[in-house]
Structures are given as C-alpha cells and as structure tokens.
Symmetry: C3
Subunit: 337 residues, 3 copies
C-alpha cells in the first residue's frame, strides 16, 4: 500500500510541510527509514539525529519541526499519528473465514460465518463466536464462553467456560482467562478447595499479554473494564475489578477482590494486595507493593534502586537497625534539652 503525505495529513488531521505528493509505503525507525518511509521521534533526545535521517517524511509537533528542513507531517500528538499511520500501512494479515479441518468445534457452538477457527483449536458446547473473530492455533474456548466481534486469540490461548470477552479484545499467546481463583477453606491443617463459580468478564478492546492469567471469580465475576491493557505475565486474582483504560505493565500481581480505578497505570513487577480500593488516576511505580487502599489520585512508590553491592549492604544492614537508631537519636535529643 502506498499513500501520499497529503493523504496522511487529511486522514489524521495534520499539516504537511514540504512535498505533499511524496509516496509513503511504510513506517520505519528514524535511523533506517528510506525515501518512502515515514518516521517519528519517540523521544526528544533523538532530535539531533533528525536532520541526518533519510526518511521520506517525519511526523513531528510544530515545535520539533522548527529546525527541520525535510518533509514533515505536523500533528498535535505524533505518537498517536504514528500508531494510526502504522496501522494503515501495515494492516493485520487478513484471514479467510471458516474453520480449519483439524479444529474441534462442538455442534452446539454458534460460530459467525465471518470468523476463523484455526488448526487444533477447540470450541466447546454453546460457545458463541461473533463476527470477524480470529481463534488462532491451539486455542481453547470453553463451554458457554463468548468472544465478541473482531476479538482475536493469537495462539495457545485458554478461555475458560462461561467467560465473556467483549468486542475487539486481543489475547497474546499463552494467556489464560478463567482459571480457578485461589480459594481454600482451612480445616484441620488441610486446604479444602472452594469451588470457583464466577466468570471473567472482559470489556471492549481489552488486551491481554502473553502468559498473563486472569482468574474467574469465586461467586461474583472478575471484571476488566473497556480499554484496559495488560502486559505479559500478569496475575489478576479472583474478583478483581479494573476500571476503564487502566494499563498494567508486565509481571504485576493483583490479589483477590481488589478494585482498581480508571486510567490508572501500574509499573512492572508492582504488587497490590487483596481487598483494597485504588482510586481513579493512580499511578504505581515499578516494583512497588501497595498494601493499603489509595483514595487520592497521584503517584505512589516504594521502589528501591540498586546500587553497588558493598554500599548497599552497609545501608541495608543499617535499615535493619533503624528502630534502634531512632532510639539513640531520641536519647541524644533528650540529653541536649
């Protein structure tokens, strides 16, 4: 596919500076882009390299374009314009609807004629697969589960029985939606399993990363709001609720029944313990543990940064004496009074 710079400007509400008739066939990094590629500046630290780029055009803000003499597509939000351009020029590989001969589809499953069920996929009884859904190789969709229109399961994804994904969801390989929650009653030193009877409900346009796991609710459902984006290897426990457009980075764990607000971000490897409420617009830094509810928007942290080990060990040892140190300090203060 080829498109002129003028056409990109028209589609994405931008302005052209330079040659509007240049043909753009792809997006590329600034340093390797050729005469028919469009690039963008991911970080202003790359601005000095802008003039050296052989890119056919660059997506820039008005300000960043000031000292640039090449072709530019000037927009308010270059990152968003770049995403749209990439989507236009590098569309998903289209698929022919139907079912691979090796797929195992229950007779009572309802599969839209525009959907694709890939090789070795398994669709169980009464499942509903809507228009334009893509079920990749090796995926499993349990009984009574539902995949909304245009939802895609890339490969080896597991969707447990009765779970529901709304339209335009995307599950990366190995994602597991609807495993049992971790619920046991203790009786005479043994753990007795509590049947996990709830479901997982994903809203519109939720993305679930590779090998991420979302457990079904114990009685009520686990609910992930519209537009939530989950990176890889995340654990979402039973009965968690996540508000719209929250984004969570890889390796995060969220324990049972915690409720997270809208538009939050959670940094990689952060953890949130169970039964908390996190307000809208809360941002948790990487590696931080949240142990109590947060009722105010803002940034929260408990990240410690690595330092050379000899120095760290001395400081960490002191940390383990901190309470005693405070006593010593208080004693000194008393003496001085």
């Amino acid at each position: 596919m080829a498109v002129t710079l003028a056409e990109l400007a028209r589609r994405f509400q931008g302005k052209v500076r330079g040659n509007p008739e240049i043909k753009i066939v792809g997006v590329a990094p600034l340093e390797t882009a050729g005469a028919n590629d469009i690039a963008y500046i991911a970080d202003r630290k790359y601005l000095p390299g802008l003039q050296r780029s052989a890119a056919g055009a660059v997506i820039l803000t008005q300000e960043d374009a000031q000292n640039f003499t090449g072709n530019a597509l000037i927009v308010d939000n270059p990152h968003f314009c770049f995403a749209q351009t990439a989507e236009l020029l590098h569309p998903l590989t289209p698929f022919t609807p139907g079912q691979h001969a090796s797929a195992v589809v229950a007779p009572t499953a309802r599969i839209a004629s525009s959907a694709w069920i890939g090789p070795h996929a398994v669709i169980e009884a009464e499942a509903i697969i809507e228009d334009g859904v893509y079920v990749g190789p090796g995926c499993f969709v349990g009984a009574h589960a539902k995949l909304g229109a245009r939802t895609r399961l890339i490969a080896n994804v597991t969707i447990g029985e009765r779970c529901r994904l709304d339209s335009d969801c995307l599950c990366q390989p190995g994602a597991v939606i609807g495993g049992d929650g971790f619920g046991y009653a203790k009786h005479q030193e043994k753990w007795h399993k509590v049947p996990q009877l709830g479901r997982v409900i994903l809203g519109h346009a939720v993305e679930v990363g590779a090998n991420t796991t979302i457990d079904r609710g114990a009685l009520n459902d686990t609910v992930i709001g519209d537009g939530v984006k989950l990176d890889n290897l995340i654990q979402i426990a039973h009965n968690v609720r996540i508000g719209e457009n929250t984004a969570i980075a890889a390796c995060v764990g969220i324990a049972g029944s915690t409720v997270i607000g809208k538009r939050c971000t959670v940094g990689g490897q952060a953890g949130i313990v169970g039964h908390l409420e996190i307000a809208d617009d809360v941002h948790i830094t990487a590696g931080s543990l949240v142990t109590s509810s947060i009722d105010q928007a803002g940034v929260y942290s408990a990240s410690l940064k690595a330092q050379p080990v000899e120095k760290w060990r001395r400081n960490a040892a002191r940390l383990h004496q901190l309470d005693e140190l405070v006593q010593r300090l208080s004693d000194l203060e008393k003496k001085l009074k």
Copy 2:
C-alpha cells in the same frame, strides 16, 4: 440439585435455626442471593448487611447468628461449610470416559477405562493414566509420566517425561511440570548445559495454578508434598522440596534446592533464594525476599508499602545515605560523652 437446610446441617455437622425444610439450590453472595440460595459472611465487616440479605439461609457461627432473624446454618467453620456446600450444589461437570478422536495416544500408554483424554491431547509412550483422570484439550503428558486417580489437567498443561502426579491433583491451564532446571556449568565464558535428569513428584491433592512452572530436578527429584496449593505464575526451581499443606500465592519464585516446611504460607511475589531450609509453619508476607534459612515458625517480612512518591523519594534517598547517617549519629554520641 436441591437440598433442605436440614440435610445440609446433617451432612456438615451444623445446626439449623429457622426453617429446616427450606430448599437450597445454590450458593450465592449475600447481596444477590435469592430465596433458594445459601450465603455466608466472608468477613465480619459484612455483618451489618446480613439482615438485609434476601438469602434463603446463611451459614454462620453461633456468635454471628445472634442478631440475625433469618434462616441460619450454624457451624464452627462457616468457610469450610460453605466450601462443602458449594461442592455439593455445584459439582464438577461429569465427563464420559474415553478418548477424543483427535487425541494422540501412544500404544504403550496405559489409560484407565474411566479416564478421559480430550481433543488434541498427546500422551506419550508408557505413560500411566489412572482411574477417573481428566486430560483436557491440548494437554501433553510425556513418556513414562504418571497421573494418579482423579487427577485433572484443565487445558494446555504440559507434564514432562517421567514426572508423577499422585491422586486428586489439579493443574490449571498452561501449567508446566517438568521443564528443565536452570543448570549450567561455566567454561571459558560460556554456559554449558547440565542435563536435568531428575523428575517432578507431586503428592496427593496438589493444585498447580495457571502458567505456574515446576522444574525437574538435576539429579534428584523436585518434590511437592500432599495437599500443597500453588497459585498462578509461580516458579519452583529444580530440587526444591515443599512440605505438606503449604500454600503459595501467585508470582512467587523459589530458587533451586530450597526446602520448605509443612503448613507454611508464602505471600504473593515473595522470593526465596536457593539452598535454604525453611521450617514448618513459617509465613512469609507478600513481596518479601528470603535470603537465609529460617529455623523458627513465625511471620517474616521485608515488605515496603508504597507511599506518595515525593515523600517516598526523600526517604529512599536517605536510605541510600543510611550508613553515613549512622556515622553522624555516632559522632554526636561521642561528643556528648
């Protein structure tokens, strides 16, 4: 299935208060339970809502039932009674024994006639599948592996060759039992793989969460005791041994050759380094790193709680000066003497 409150009391050693003849058909949350549902109080903070519930009956302790005028099933351990009631009223979907036409089963595998081998499952040579085992879609059972009676692999589970699961185990989707341990010998800057020749041995009634991984031993086996419960996305390295009825929350990592006692609990995202011994009845809080052996029962922690980032940054910066601060404090103490 419907059962009277009197029948539940008889089965689970409880007492009825109210109408013993009320029919119970399901368990439900307090706030949505209807006239034929039984509910319970997961946390005493919900006691104020008890009287407003439309539940047909509620499972309660004697004490919590005092001010409640509805039908009650009074027991010593409501959580356990609730688990049993849920199991009775919402039993697992029964399966018809046999093998799906698409399953690939080695001729030398020994499959009990009461077991089910699901679509696209693969069972390799000499594997032993005992009575009532359920092997879900896409699961792989390696050569000479053994699944004890009534063990269930939900979907896309991998059981490596020679690994052994005792009776009544349950593996959630994506679990990997018997991947190679992470063992290499360094030689001239390169890592040379050490063949991982041991197995993974799971005791009776072990549960393995979604996408959890348990590595085979290097020479000896990795051994998980009876009744151990592992949540999702846990890593158990080679030659780890875990005692009976220990429960481990999601995202925990346990490094090689560590031995964990009985009845321990490990909070989410905690880590235990290799070659340690952890006594029975040890409890590790979420996010804590255990770097030395623990020989006494008790609760151990190194969890830091997130706070507003401006405040945290000031404190964290001071932490990196802590050793120096102690020097300053010591100097003051000397001067005052």
Copy 3:
C-alpha cells in the same frame, strides 16, 4: 552406554586416580551413587560425605581429591566435566525425522528432512525449519519464522511470525517468542495500539525457560545474543538487546529498549526498567530493581532480606520517617556546634 574411567579422562582432559578400568554407566548424587555411577561435589560443604559414598568414581579437583581414597577423575573444572559426562551418558532421546500425521504444515514451509514436527504442531507459510530441528507437540511456528539447525521446541511453545532462532536453541514448554510488545499511544484517555512490526532474533544456543515471554520489537527487533540463558517466567519487552552469554534467573522483568551487556547475570525476580544501558559483566542480585543505567562492571543490589515481622514493621515504619529523622539529626549537629 558404559564407558571406562580412563575413557572419560581421555575425553575430558582429566587424570584418573584409582582404577582406570572401572565401568561408568551413569551420573548420580554422591549419596545414592552406586558402583557404576560417577558423582561430583556440587559444594565443598559435602566434602565430609565423600569418603562414605559408594560411587564408582567421583569427579574432583586435585585439591579436593587429596584425602579421598576412592576412584577419582581429577579435572580443573569438575562442574563442567560433570555436565559433559552427564551429556555423554544420558544423551537426549533420539527422534525419527518426519512429521506426525496430526501436524499441520503449510505447503510453502521448508522443512529439512532430518527435522521432526510433532503431533498437533502447526507450521505456517514460508517458515524455515533447518536440519535436526525438533518441534514438539502443540508447538506453533508462525509464517516466515525460522528455526536454526538442531533447535528444539519441547512442547506448547509459540514462535510468532518472522521470528528467527539460530542453531542449537532450546525452548522449554509454554515459552512465547514474538508476542506483541506493549506499545500504545494515548489519545483522549484511551490507549491506541501501536502495531508491533519488529521481530525477535535469538542467537546461537539460546535457552528460553518455561512460560518465559519475549516480545517482538516495535519497529526494530528484540535481539538475544549467542549463548544467553533465560530461566522460567521471564519477561523480555520489545526492543531489548541482551549480550552474549548473559544468564537471567526466573521471574525477572526487563522493560522496553533496555540494552544489557555480555556475561551479565541477573538474579531471580530482579527488574530492569526501560531505556537503560547495562555494561558487560554486571551482576544484579535477586529481587533488585535497576532504575538507572550501569556503566561499570560489578555487583549491584537493592535486596532487602526478610526478618521476623514485628522487628521488620518497626524498622519499616522508621524508614517512612527517615527524611524527618535526618532533619532531627541535623538539628542536633547544629546545636552542638
């Protein structure tokens, strides 16, 4: 297979002490080794048990062999010699080349005649599978992907389209190579997906642990150098580059665009935030978070060790007052001047 001690010495540049003609058939742990097994000392703390071992022979350094009267194979690097011996005596189960009848292989895929494509595997269009490759059950190899000679995918592994694995790679079950990177542009409170157009490139002899995920690059590729070893449940984000012979333990997360040097080691559950540069020969301890670039070889840490919870809570509370404590200390210092 049986081999004399003399033959092992010849192959692995060692010296025999004792009977060179003893037949060795396997490797075994010191405490269970029999008369035809060879053992080694994994840690010098086991030296006292050496003389009691019934092992046919033991691999030892000159020094450790001093007080041992049994048969010994004396080498400079016993761990490496043990790895080689184990590999010799316990070789991988050979496979018959070909394709299982249930495998789904695109007509345009190029499969070497010496490769094996296992049951329920799926190989898509134009994929290249070189000599001696093993594709285990349930694995997926996307369009235009390439598996170099002797590379092995154990089971249920996903290789995304266009990704390339060089020769002698090994992917444990559930590994996902080439999921989409976590890239979104924010626009009016919503996350708009940025197409992930890059690939994952694995060098020679890379090992990828069970359920580990490596994301494809956004525009450029994610690149893992020769000889890199990745344990289980690791997240490698888009555009990360890892230098040769670096080894990373389980549950580590590395965020986008970070570049890691050669011969580094990263302890379990450590995290490295995005867009950093880590020099060669850097070692990060378990559980540490790296938040800024490291330009000097060495050991870096921010690991806190768990302690009994009452003691820890007092210290952790003080940590949250640390900035204030420093003020108090400074006040005292001023008064004393």
